[in-house]
């Protein structure tokens, strides 16, 4: 629980009316110290010497001294700041990706990702804002938190969540053994040998480490941005997935209705994991299986942050295309005219007038034309500051990863304790922490699980 602390917190914020500038905001005792570590000022003046409410141009650099972004730093010193603590704002220019990198640098230099509403809470507690102001802000945060929680829960469905749940269960099992040996020493229980327990912790440690390190394999990143490829049958959706992922994963045939189950592929666009989902073509289904496929496609349209609608440009628009266009939220969507290598019979200008220039791309999935342009459009959408969904999601990713890094360090400690033959309560201390931390991700927290587990597992009561 990170309630009121004076440790230094950071978060990505945006300032209304100034799109394309992401702000990393730090507040707390070490705000200046931390930003000092990653910022090189153009005029060479250290941040701590800057006057309150002044700005400085410069660069943010990473551990390897490479430039991450060109930024403007502004400093507001305690107590005359929003939170009444030292605040440093780093205004980034490189869009969401650079902003994210800057925030990560702050975190690796000792800041903590803020809890929802923590800036406001600090401001309020330190007497900076009054109740009505605070309430208004908290209402917004509240709404946003619930939204994020929903997203978080949706995101970690599937593989990663299963894996974490399993690891958590295993930690519980291990804790049950350790705790039983402490609190029920008078019972003659058959506790698993210490070495076995150590081995089991090792396995959990390895698996979680893999989850964190193996981003490329697409484990952790199951919670990336979802892009659903939708459209009526045979327009080239599967071909597009193959083109964009440079794999031949989806089956392509000339028969309409080929794809029945959705296929996912993860591609990194500027370091952000993006999940492309090839869906079944939407039409009046001929049988049950297809019906299910179509139903799922409609669900994907709902769930995806970015639906990509594929339209066959070599044939005239028909009522199925139009139905899909109606179903999709065009504020979020991108429209692809495919098969432009053969013919282009659709009047694009009509479309452009209707839906705006920005959301239309002409491509040939087969020949690989326009794919880069499509990617560019997706990146632009991800960087758009109005899209809270996407920004939250990126932050949630970081939060999860950060928790898992902490879990790993706890597991490491407990392995060390077990190796050194320290008694059960020592490894247990770290394992409990790890266990609770994983619960923060999977959304489970139950108080008496260990004690209940002991009673379930062992015959207690001599």
């Amino acid at each position: 629980m990170n309630m009121i602390n004076n440790d230094t917190i950071c978060a990505i914020g945006t300032r209304t009316g100034e799109s394309a500038i992401g702000i990393v905001r730090l507040s707390g005792n070490d705000a200046i110290k931390i930003s000092e570590k990653i910022f090189i000022s153009n005029n060479g003046k250290p941040i701590k010497e800057m006057a309150s409410y002044t700005m400085a141009y410069g660069y943010v650099i990473d551990e390897r001294k490479e430039i991450v972004d060109q930024v403007i730093i502004s400093v507001m010193k305690s107590p005359k700041s929003y939170t009444r603590e030292d605040i440093v704002e780093i205004n980034c220019h490189g869009g969401i990706i650079a902003t994210k990198k800057v925030m990560n640098l702050c975190i690796s230099n000792g800041a903590r990702l803020s809890d929802p509403g923590e800036f406001t809470r600090r401001a309020f507690i330190n007497g900076r804002i009054d109740l009505t102001q605070a309430e208004a802000v908290i209402e917004i945060i509240r709404a946003k938190t619930e939204q994020s929680l929903k997203i978080a829960a949706n995101n970690i469905k599937g593989n990663i969540k299963n894996k974490l749940e399993n690891q958590r269960k295993e930690l519980l099992e291990i804790l049950i053994e350790l705790e039983a040996s402490i609190d029920f020493i008078e019972e003659d229980l058959e506790i698993a040998p210490y070495e076995d327990l150590e081995k089991r912790v090792q396995i959990v440690y390895k698996e979680i480490k893999e989850l964190v390190n193996d981003e490329k394999k697409g484990e952790l990143v199951k919670n990336g941005i979802k892009v659903a490829i939708v459209g009526k049958p045979n327009v080239g959706k599967s071909s597009l997935l193959n083109a964009i992922s440079k794999k031949e994963k989806a089956i392509v045939t000339h028969i309409p209705g080929t794809t029945r189950d959705a296929i996912e592929e993860i591609i990194y666009l500027e370091g952000i994991p993006v999940i492309f989902i090839d869906t079944a073509g939407i039409r009046k289904a001929k049988n049950l299986i297809e019906k299910i496929g179509v139903k799922n496609s409609l669900r994907f349209i709902e769930e995806a942050e970015i639906p990509v609608i594929v339209i066959d440009a070599s044939a005239p628009l028909d009522k199925y295309d139009e139905e899909i266009l109606i179903k999709v939220n065009l504020n979020k969507a991108i429209i692809c005219f495919n098969k432009i290598d053969i013919a282009n019979v659709i009047n694009k200008n009509d479309f452009k007038k209707k839906f705006g220039e920005n959301i239309i791309v002409e491509i040939s999935a087969k020949k690989g034309i326009g794919i880069k342009e499509l990617e560019g459009k997706i990146i632009k959408k991800m960087g758009s500051e109005n899209d809270f969904d996407i920004q939250d999601k990126i932050i949630i990713n970081i939060r999860h990863k950060r928790i898992l890094v902490e879990v790993i360090s706890c597991l490491k400690n407990s392995i060390k304790a077990m190796k050194n033959k320290m008694s059960e309560e020592f490894p247990s201390a770290d394992l409990k922490l790890a266990y609770n931390l994983i619960g923060e991700i999977t959304g489970e927290s139950a108080t008496d699980e260990i004690i209940n587990g002991i009673f379930e597992k062992f015959c207690i009561g001599k």
Partner: protein, 622 residues
């Protein structure tokens, strides 16, 4: 008819009632203890033992603040053992077999000789409440006693119902009258109660046991004490014995399981999972071929022997058959059968952390009547209720222990925030700060509270301060004292299987190595240390601190975080339905539990961090 007026009336003279009344009387308040039977003061109706893992911590904490249990246990212990000896100091725990009669008479003597304390036999039928405040009680003979406050420590007596085989009858404990009317009066005051159940094994005649067929389980002849204010001593050592049930036992029970009150439906309420009956064990663990049976002495001068592990409320004749299947008990004779007792308990979430009722002023509840199990748990609550009654009557702030400073804090916080599904028992795993809340530092953690309340004398408290100072000085010295990297040193280290030092190093650093023991080091290098430490307890503390500093520091960080929210108080009349933005479920829960601090609110199941943020804003508004 107003015949007598007291400051405090304590209902019950069990472990909670004794501590509660002693605390009040010692703090100068005129205290009346009413008990159903004056011959049963501080009775141990179940196992003849005090202490054990988690429980010793409670006894020592109580003792550190001026409670009685530890001192009386020292008088009556007839065998002690150190549990978890191979583990770290935080989970090591003394456990003692107790001479039951000795304990009772020592405690009764203490009560009888305490100024301001009146012991009287009487069954309380009614609590008198007027205008949301307690006024006194009346007993079965019609006499009314008036008082400023009342502490209910009625144990299992409220509508107690004993189950033994197919018979059942009302009783507080076997052979004792129940308290049949008090519950109604408590309900009338607007409080809610529920029922729990607990059970005890048969006692057998020592002379009929064949000890030659069993393993002897002697105690340890180690200097020990349950009290910081008594010096360590070697206790008597009357052994326990260990035998096992067998296939015959299990078959007998299985074939006659219909006789078990669990099966017959005579017992439906929840009992404690930590002491299931033998019938339940046989049902639940079909594959276990034997269960241990410990034979524990009930007293110095008694032949009664307690059969730990054979708890049951099957019919008495059948209990005899069960007992005789066990090796060494073939000819054993039951002196009194085991039985189950079902009783009313107060849902403890109606209490504040001071153990005062949220809705009836100056009415306190403590002990088993709050849904706990165990003498130590009861005594701890009795003490807190007693001290807080006294503090309230003096117009002072209550003594609220925290999760971060004591197991007693954990106990009370859990009682108030958790939904109990069985009688609550302390385990060390219930504490988030187990490595810091060690038995041997209870005095350092808590004696301040006993001293401020007025229960510890000046010289007692200064003894603790002195110990604390010694610890700090020694820690400081050790980080300065350097040991040279010569042959002598390295030979010594090699002998202990420790790696040699290349440069001169501080003793502090050396002690960080797990294999280096302080006591041995002091012996080998008396000159280098150049410090004379008379108190081995100081050495222990210092060694623990140095060896486990990393762990202890991490707990401290957790404690600091917790304390920030713990210090934000919430008004008891706070209207949760007035605040927007938190879920209906959360509002309802908060309104019911009425947390006293924001920290407590955050521990209530179903309350999210977002709820807490909003709540914090609303609280600050006042």
């Amino acid at each position: 008819m107003k015949i007598d007026a007291f400051d405090v009336i304590v209902i019950g003279a069990g472990h909670a009632g004794c501590e509660a009344s002693l605390a009040c009387a010692r703090l100068g308040f005129k205290t009346l203890v009413l008990t159903i039977n004056l011959d049963k003061v501080a009775l141990m109706p179940c196992n003849p033992a005090i202490g054990g893992v988690g429980k010793t911590q409670l006894v020592l904490e109580l003792d550190a603040m001026g409670g009685q249990m530890g001192k009386t246990a020292n008088e009556a212990a007839i065998q002690v053992r150190m549990l978890n000896r191979s583990k770290g100091p935080a989970v090591r725990a003394l456990r003692a077999q107790i001479d039951k009669k000795g304990y009772e008479s020592a405690m009764k003597r203490t009560l009888e000789n305490t100024e301001n304390l009146t012991l009287r036999q009487g069954t309380v039928d009614r609590i008198l409440v007027d205008n949301g405040r307690i006024q006194g009680v009346s007993i079965e003979s019609g006499v009314t006693f008036y008082s400023e406050s009342v502490i209910v420590a009625a144990g299992t007596f409220l509508r107690g119902r004993i189950i033994l085989g197919s018979s059942e009858y009302h009783a507080g404990r076997m052979g004792e009258y129940p308290s049949m009317y008090l519950t109604d009066s408590i309900l009338k005051a607007g409080l809610v109660m529920d029922r729990f159940q607990t059970a005890t094994p048969p006692r057998i005649d020592k002379r009929t046991i064949d000890f030659s067929k069993m393993a002897v389980q002697p105690g340890e002849d180690i200097p020990a004490s349950f009290s910081f204010w008594n010096s360590d001593k070697i206790f008597p050592n009357i052994p326990s014995y260990l035998t096992y049930t067998n296939d015959k036992t299990h078959e007998l029970i299985r074939n006659n399981i219909s006789l078990s009150p669990i099966k017959s439906g005579m017992v439906t309420t929840h009992g404690p999972r930590h002491c299931p009956s033998i019938d339940r064990k046989v049902i639940n663990y079909e594959n276990k071929s034997r269960h241990p049976v410990f034979i524990e002495p009930e007293g110095k001068y008694s032949n009664e022997s307690y059969l730990q592990g054979l708890t049951t409320s099957m019919p008495a004749f059948f209990q005899q058959l069960i007992v005789n299947t066990v090796v060494g008990l073939e000819n054993a004779r039951i002196m009194r059968p085991g039985y189950a007792v079902e009783y009313d308990y107060l849902l403890p979430n109606q209490l504040k952390h001071s153990l005062e009722c949220k809705t009836v002023a100056n009415l306190f509840f403590a002990g088993q009547v709050n849904g706990t199990s165990g003498y130590e748990e009861a005594a701890a609550q009795g003490f807190i209720a007693g001290v807080n009654t006294a503090l309230k009557l003096s117009g002072k702030e209550p003594l609220i222990l925290k999760r971060s400073n004591s197991y007693i804090g954990v106990l009370i916080d859990d009682l108030i925030n958790k939904e109990l599904s069985e009688p609550y028992r302390m385990y060390t795993s219930r504490s988030e700060y187990r490595l810091s809340l060690r038995p041997e530092n209870a005095d350092l953690r808590l004696s301040f509270f006993g001293y401020s309340a007025g229960l510890l004398k000046e010289e007692q408290y200064s003894k603790v301060l002195d110990k604390n100072l010694q610890i700090e000085n020694l820690l400081h010295d050790l980080s300065k004292k350097v040991i040279n990297a010569n042959d002598e040193t390295n030979k010594y280290l090699a002998k202990l299987g420790s790696s040699p030092v290349e440069n001169s190093t501080t003793i502090y650093k050396l002690l960080q190595r797990p294999e280096i023991k302080f006591s041995a080091l002091v012996k080998t290098f008396p000159d280098i240390l150049g410090i004379s430490i008379s108190d081995s307890k100081v050495l222990e503390q210092v060694e623990t601190y140095i060896k486990y500093k990393g762990y202890i520091d991490r707990e401290l960080i957790g404690i600091k975080k917790l304390e920030n929210v713990e210090n934000i108080a919430i008004d008891i009349n706070f209207d949760y339905f007035k605040i927007n933005g938190i879920t209906f479920e959360a509002r309802e829960k908060l309104s019911r539990i009425k947390p006293e601090t924001l920290g407590q609110a955050s521990r209530i199941a179903g309350i999210s961090p977002a709820d807490i943020s909003i709540l914090m804003v609303a609280i600050k508004q006042g």
